[in-house]
Symmetry: D2
Subunit: 314 residues, 4 copies
Amino acid sequence: MDTSQFRGVIPPVVIPLSEKKTLDLEAFDRSINRMIEAGVDGLFFLGSSGEVAFLTDAQRYHVLQEAVAIVNGRVPVLAGIIDMETMRVVDQAKRATGFGVDGLVATAPFYALGGPKEVERHFRAIREYTDLPLFAYDLPVCVHTKLDPTMLVRLGKDGVIQGVKDSSGDDVAFRWLILENEDAGHPLQLLTGHEVCVDGAYLAGADGSVPGLANIDPASYAEQWKAAQAGDWERVKEIQDHLARLMFMTRRVKATVGFGAGVGAFKTALWQMGVFNTNQMREPVQPLVGEDVEAIVDVLKAGGLMDPDAPIRK
Amino acid sequence: MDTSQFRGVIPPVVIPLSEKKTLDLEAFDRSINRMIEAGVDGLFFLGSSGEVAFLTDAQRYHVLQEAVAIVNGRVPVLAGIIDMETMRVVDQAKRATGFGVDGLVATAPFYALGGPKEVERHFRAIREYTDLPLFAYDLPVCVHTKLDPTMLVRLGKDGVIQGVKDSSGDDVAFRWLILENEDAGHPLQLLTGHEVCVDGAYLAGADGSVPGLANIDPASYAEQWKAAQAGDWERVKEIQDHLARLMFMTRRVKATVGFGAGVGAFKTALWQMGVFNTNQMREPVQPLVGEDVEAIVDVLKAGGLMDPDAPIRK
Amino acid sequence: MDTSQFRGVIPPVVIPLSEKKTLDLEAFDRSINRMIEAGVDGLFFLGSSGEVAFLTDAQRYHVLQEAVAIVNGRVPVLAGIIDMETMRVVDQAKRATGFGVDGLVATAPFYALGGPKEVERHFRAIREYTDLPLFAYDLPVCVHTKLDPTMLVRLGKDGVIQGVKDSSGDDVAFRWLILENEDAGHPLQLLTGHEVCVDGAYLAGADGSVPGLANIDPASYAEQWKAAQAGDWERVKEIQDHLARLMFMTRRVKATVGFGAGVGAFKTALWQMGVFNTNQMREPVQPLVGEDVEAIVDVLKAGGLMDPDAPIRK
Amino acid sequence: MDTSQFRGVIPPVVIPLSEKKTLDLEAFDRSINRMIEAGVDGLFFLGSSGEVAFLTDAQRYHVLQEAVAIVNGRVPVLAGIIDMETMRVVDQAKRATGFGVDGLVATAPFYALGGPKEVERHFRAIREYTDLPLFAYDLPVCVHTKLDPTMLVRLGKDGVIQGVKDSSGDDVAFRWLILENEDAGHPLQLLTGHEVCVDGAYLAGADGSVPGLANIDPASYAEQWKAAQAGDWERVKEIQDHLARLMFMTRRVKATVGFGAGVGAFKTALWQMGVFNTNQMREPVQPLVGEDVEAIVDVLKAGGLMDPDAPIRK
């Protein structure tokens, strides 16, 4: 299975909604094209930033159908197949496959936890039902299990998974994953889910990144990846500092916490920048308003993503 | 909305599988009838013990269809509508309603967490889409949010929820919930999810219990509830000690942890007692074998649930 | 080692301070005598409620010296010997012993965690250095390790520990501890650290309780224990409801969280009731003020602990 | 207060013990000199790796007395003043100061937790009692509170603290700390506690590192710091990979977990390399034996820290 296409910057795509909380196709098209034109290397739909947990099955497949059509083969498409336990994930995998995506992304089981045996068996069972490249999504903040590096490399050598999207925040374990993957002949494409410490991950040997913030500033992430490939580490760091300061937008939100603050800030930024038409969120999350919107605009202006004189959209 | 029917012992029904991991209708019928005949006051399908996280949607609705037919109105039926976020839960609610169940049970949002505002809005949004009695399922071990007693009573007074199944293990918060519910005129039916401390919950004023262990020994739980209604607390405690010792079966499992040890032990017990035909589990969980089975049989024999001379089923 | 004296209500004593944050001996004397006269069965000094973590060693031994003198043999005295790891705890044990206390209370190691082997070895090592009765203090909220019931009973049978103060909030594990202790011939005195679910613990077979709230209302806890001994469970429950409502005082605090809200509320209540002369706290905690004090007074008046017309002390 | 001396590699010193668990002065002298001669920039005594939690007060001050004498001004000396709450920490600060150390290192309060107000007040209170440079030690794995970057920089601007030793493992927050510290004019010296991701921390702008593994291989950490100063990031990364592989020694331990596996592996390595005379640990931790020792030797040989033909010391 050739996985060489899954390298570089692969943003998890944030989904624009109309005021009525339906998919805003015009903004979706604009945002996707903006990222591809900025030079991203792939796109990941139905991840956490893509509100996968909030979408009904019908809404999920609507997103995939439109996404594949808009991307139209210009970059590879990864699709999240996020559900609670193995056979529900298999159902999601079968359906996603029908929409022509290039790879699948699955987490460990969640809701009813087991131990490491069950986690490994879970990925092996999914492989039995799909021929697409499969990425393990290491996301303990959502699934409450940390994936063990040694197990991941074993699954890679056995052809069960072809890559890892690491959003664990555990950079020590990610380093061990990189080293064990090298020792095994690099069976896995290793992508960091960081927005803020991508420079260190590239220096350590990551094959790419999946930063939600690349929806806001795809050009900087694309340039950063090129600088890393060229070994220009001072430039990689310089761009990272700019991006880390942009990420302050998620720290400025006062009205809520968790998903509503993080993806809520991204949607608000895209709205204020004119990429999205609203910053609408899905139930039970409410869009940000008032001083939270103002704080995000301040961050965007400080980061050069908005004209200093631009008014706040209402 | 009359919720007086949701009192007493309402076991979360464990699902028997064939060796091929399909619903074993014969055993399902036997187990349900055994519980009803033992005097339980209701049945809860598609809870955690009912493997809800592991069932595909098709399998979930198959369970509900058969369950409603077998129960046939003899006791009220609660159905779990467990999914990640609001609109996915609403989808589950709409479908479950079509199968003729008497009430619904929903957790807080999980996977993508927010704060208390989102949790409250979540339940209010579900209410907009259903006319059935709705129970809030407080299950932080699975959903990683503890439901606040004051919020629950507020939702009760507003007619959003009609009861709570408390599996939080936080008996202090449950006591506060009972007291606040009393002060508000008892809008909520409060059911403890404990197997082991049901006596204390009854003494504190709980309206009933939802013990997974009642699949194994429904008669004792039914008798315990009657003793509590009669104020015979010494008897309530005596039965509880018997049941707590039975629950040791889940502590004896060595091969795995979590769901596979808990529900795995229940299925193994029901198999060894002749209620189930196998102890098969759903992917990625494996059925218990060898010394784990032997240990469970020992507990059953010590508790008088199996004949001391009965051989171990293979 | 005779441990029969360690039964019934053994409040963890809250320490009164002057405005200058020194031990207020007058109030200390008044509060201790008030509890003994109300019928408590023992007193526990230097527990969490006794600010053990905040006291310098010199302050700790000052408290013990004065406490033993005031109690003067009327009830048994337990002393917390709380420190990070084994040999520091042994140091505390040796010194506390010199002040003539009747028993010692030690937690699992904290700060640098190990596994269950180290926890068991820790208690065995402490035993080598003391001849006093030793209670294991199960307090995961502070030490981040839950003590295993089977290990505790093993330590009891081996004469290492003579009792357990269970403040784990894990009532299932406490039930198992009670049952395993019975099966082993009751080597351990089992005390619940609950304020709010003491009724259930007594019904389950606890040998007593260590409720911080008994500093506020010792008479009710003493009466509750007598009612439990007499098998009058309705009365036990009735008193518990009164006490649970009193405990609302800790839920009303808005200015801070954690220790400052819990013990801060107790000190404020004792101050408003005239038992303490201030509600002063130790660094870095600040005493409660303003609306937090008013809310606590409201709870005390509703519970009959303060005259409805009494003014708020300033 | 000049803090420019606290830069570069400042290992947390691991303490050698005799078979009788007393300080092994000969090995202590050898290990300290070995690190200074290898080019480290400072030494940190009484940190977690220095068994601070396990030492009685008398043992702590013995360590400081000998350490200051051996170091003899060649590099600056930091001393941990680790205790539960503010005034206990102040006691430790006063005593450590008497031994002539150059700076102090304090954690957030632990055992009895409060909120952010108490954490900030804690550091401000310590400052009132000492004139030495003070480092905040961010160590949630031991103290269960994460220090907020914005608060740390505020304390830095106010002259309360002069630096941070970040062992939080939260590299995103560390990046934010670096950026906010820059914006404030660099009041704080920021040291990463990582062993494994030091390269990323240097690239991000850290002022140095406090790696326990530098007890084993001080020369590599010293060279890595020089390469970082010179901007040779490929070399920084190359050395990091070597060091990360050395750190595998802590992952190979099977007999225990936590502190006993981590510092236990370091002591075993130093013993096998001939720097220490034993791998003895303090109660309740046991030294590693058998296959754990063999696995550590394998890692040392693979990393070039031991001769491939060297026998295993018994």
